[in-house]
């Protein structure tokens, strides 16, 4: 029987082996996500500017609002969102299953195919080939390339789950495996029932909205929660507060998430029960969101001040707060008196932005701040740079979300006071476009500096010291917080 220290050493060696084995695929996905994030912010700025000053780009067809807004969402969802998710999933699955990755070339090649397909799709959108389907604007021929490359990446993430030899399955694995299955379960029926054997036109529209809702709550949200439930116990050195609460939140999220999306079509040409059930499911999502936040908060307990020192903890905890806010937004916008104002306005889009930027993005950054030093064998250079990234990103997201929701309320209110001219709606929304523009600029500044930091780490320009970079100098009174006793999760 080996001694505890020998066991610890072998575990550390195993972790190092796993990190080395997933290094190239994970770095590919994180750097791709960084590129696409900046690209999507720039496209978002152009589309917002096109609303403020439409003649700026007159004569340049590819920069007109309709095309560039479609390109912006495609870059945000498939470029930034999926690349970041792939990196997180691959690293977390192999770490949690304690198995190194084999044949790394497969996810690397699949990742290139994914990114090439997205690039082609966005170029076609900007060039004037648009399917007209929200979040699926790229030409339908791009779909198979995305699906095949996704399956290759997902298989490489799923294999360790089937081969693991741990007696227990940690809760993050449930969220990750559910997310892995969610995309094909949503994308394949959508492609088949819209493009290959289309039904009635309104059904195609309903399927489109179902796909968007599913992607938000069955893919992006679960990956974010898996990451939070892994990193918060690991960094804080405390076990997850309640396994049962986490499992309940998991099933609530997964069972409700698939019914969402159609609430945006309340009052539309669909059977009323479809939009009503979707609205109810969206409203009920507040419950798992609250449970996830409570579980995270209770896990931190008397170590909650660590949030001020650890980048991973700070971003991860912010993601759980974001999840509560996002689901409250979702719930509010399904209340009839509020939906009457926000329906068919930018307010209805606030939930998508809240999940993507307010939840998933924060969880993703939390993961990157933990994973990258382990892949690059150096530490982040400066705590102040991370603080700058966190606060500018937070302010930017709050501003963008507030503009979407409040702007939506005003925009919707104005549509009831038309008096023969649409000018009132255009004028009422304009200040919020200006606010959104400022939000995008803040986000660009924060994340441009982040991407530079990321690349400097990859080129080995980080700090060589062995201890993690903290956001602040440790106060005397907080020194006890850094005495960590290993927990079951932190050993993973």
């Amino acid at each position: 029987m080996s001694s505890p220290s020998a066991s610890e050493n072998s575990l550390a060696l195993l972790r190092a082996n796993i990190d080395q084995s997933v290094r190239w695929p994970v770095l590919l996905f994180f750097t791709s996500a960084g590129f696409w994030f900046l690209a999507s912010i720039v496209l978002g700025m152009i589309s917002t500017w096109a609303l403020l000053s439409p003649d700026t780009f007159s004569g340049c067809a590819m920069l007109q609002y309709g095309r560039v807004q479609s390109a912006h969402t495609t870059a945000m969802v498939y470029g930034f969102g999926f690349n970041l998710a792939f990196g997180m999933i691959l690293w977390l699955m192999h770490r949690l299953c304690r198995l190194p990755m084999k044949a790394q070339a497969v996810p690397v090649v699949a990742g290139h195919v994914w990114n090439i397909a997205i690039t082609i799709g966005i170029l076609f959108i900007l060039g004037g080939v648009n399917s007209g389907l929200e979040w699926l604007e790229f030409p339908k021929q791009v779909g198979p390339a995305l699906l095949i490359s996704y399956i290759a990446i997902a298989l490489w993430a799923f294999v360790p789950f089937t081969q693991r030899d741990q007696p227990q399955t940690y809760v993050s694995l449930w969220f990750l495996v559910a997310a892995l299955f969610a995309f094909p379960a949503l994308f394949l029926p959508t492609q088949i029932m819209i493009h290959i054997v289309p039904g009635a036109a309104v059904v195609s529209s309903a399927i489109n909205h179902w796909y968007i809702g599913g992607l938000l709550f069955l893919f992006f949200a679960p990956v974010a929660v898996a990451s939070v439930f892994y990193f918060v116990p690991k960094v804080s050195g405390r076990p997850l507060f309640s396994f049962s609460l986490a499992v309940f939140a998991f099933w609530a999220l997964i069972f409700l998430g698939g019914w969402t999306g159609l609430q945006r079509l309340i009052g539309g040409p669909l059977p009323a029960w479809m939009t009503a059930i979707s609205g109810a499911a969206t409203f009920l999502l507040i419950i798992p969101a609250l449970l996830i936040w409570i579980n995270t908060r209770a896990t931190l307990a008397d170590r909650s001040r660590l949030v001020t020192y650890s980048a991973t903890l700070r971003f991860s905890y912010a993601a759980t707060v974001g999840l509560v806010i996002a689901t409250v937004f979702g719930g509010l916008t399904t209340i009839p008196s509020i939906f009457a104002l926000t329906g068919l306005t930018q307010g209805a889009l606030s939930v998508q932005i809240a999940i993507l930027l307010g939840v998933f993005m924060f969880a993703g950054f939390g993961a990157i701040y933990f994973i990258i030093p382990r892949l690059c064998n150096c530490e982040w250079r400066s705590g102040s740079a991370i603080r700058f990234h966190f606060w500018f990103t937070t302010y930017a997201v709050i501003m963008i979300l507030a503009m979407y929701l409040v702007g939506g309320l005003w925009q919707g209110d104005a549509t009831y006071e038309l008096e023969g001219t649409w000018k009132v709606v255009t004028d009422s929304a304009r200040p919020y476009y200006i606010g959104r523009m400022l939000g995008w600029v803040l986000l660009l500044i924060a994340n441009f500096s982040f991407v530079i930091n990321l690349w400097s780490m990859i080129f080995g320009k980080g700090r060589k010291a062995g201890t993690a970079t903290l956001l602040h100098e440790v106060d005397e009174m907080d020194k006890d917080l850094f005495v960590v006793e290993p927990t079951e999760t932190s050993k993973a």
Binding site: Y65, V129, F181, V203, A206, G214, G267, P269, L344, K423
Partner: protein, 230 residues
């Protein structure tokens, strides 16, 4: 929780919404997706778009028009959609129904209303022009001209508009001999004219065809009770 329970749970969680929100409506609404013909007057209901209008529908998608314009008049279950006040269309305008989108690949219900709803723009625009000019009848060519000028430069018509200029759907060219019949009534320099490309013609033809207010049959609940009992 065993892995088997987990997989069964996932199948239920993903499968149930798919069955009820996708498969059932797919079967039911697609079965209703039929065109009826009134043989006494040779009229089809709802009218099916084809050819050039279908091409215009694709241009509408390609230019991302759906990002700013909806094509649905909503029911009153939440609030009264402002577009139900279009008095020229009947009072009130009926809500959009699945049958209104027959023949389209995809119902452009809309992302948000940055611009006005276009569900019935094929009726409302001639009405607006009639009101503005005070004429009893409106020549469709005038409606077409209005759409063309609006697409070429929306600020020519409404200086406050934030709609993009679709100048790439038009060709500015030197006048060869006589001015083209399809040239826009705008001044683009001595000896030059602006003419719509085929894409602009298709898009305007599509916009002028948009009418989601065809007569519909009585709801099933209005059937005589005897039918139900039988």
């Amino acid at each position: 929780m065993s892995v088997r329970t987990f997989y069964l749970g996932l199948i239920a969680a993903f499968g149930l919404p798919w069955v009820f929100l996708v498969a059932v409506p797919y079967g039911q609404l697609t079965a209703n997706d039929v065109t009826m013909v009134d043989e006494s007057i040779g009229q089809t209901y709802p009218q099916v778009n084809a050819g050039f209008i279908e091409y215009g529908n694709r241009i509408y998608a390609s230019e991302g028009c759906f990002q700013c314009h909806s094509q649905m008049v909503r029911t009153t279950e939440v609030s009264v959609d402002p577009y139900r006040y279009e008095s020229e269309l009947g009072s009130p305008v009926r809500e959009s129904r699945p049958e209104d989108y027959v023949g389209e690949d995809y119902a452009f219900l809309g992302v948000q209303r940055i611009g006005p709803d276009l569900a019935n723009v094929g009726i409302t625009k001639p009405r607006d022009i009639k009101q503005a000019t005070g004429l009893d009848e409106v020549d469709p060519a005038d409606v077409r001209q209005w759409h063309m000028e609006h697409l070429y430069d929306p600020r020519l018509i409404h200086e406050w508009s934030n709609m993009p200029s679709y100048q790439h759907l038009f060709e500015k060219r030197r006048i060869q001999g006589q001015k083209s019949n399809s040239a826009l009534n705008i001044n683009v320099g001595e000896g030059y004219e602006v003419v719509p490309t085929e894409r602009a013609e298709a898009l305007v033809t599509y916009l002028m065809s948009l009418k989601k207010n065809d007569p519909i049959g009585p709801p099933k609940a209005d059937k005589p009770a005897a039918d139900d009992e039988a």
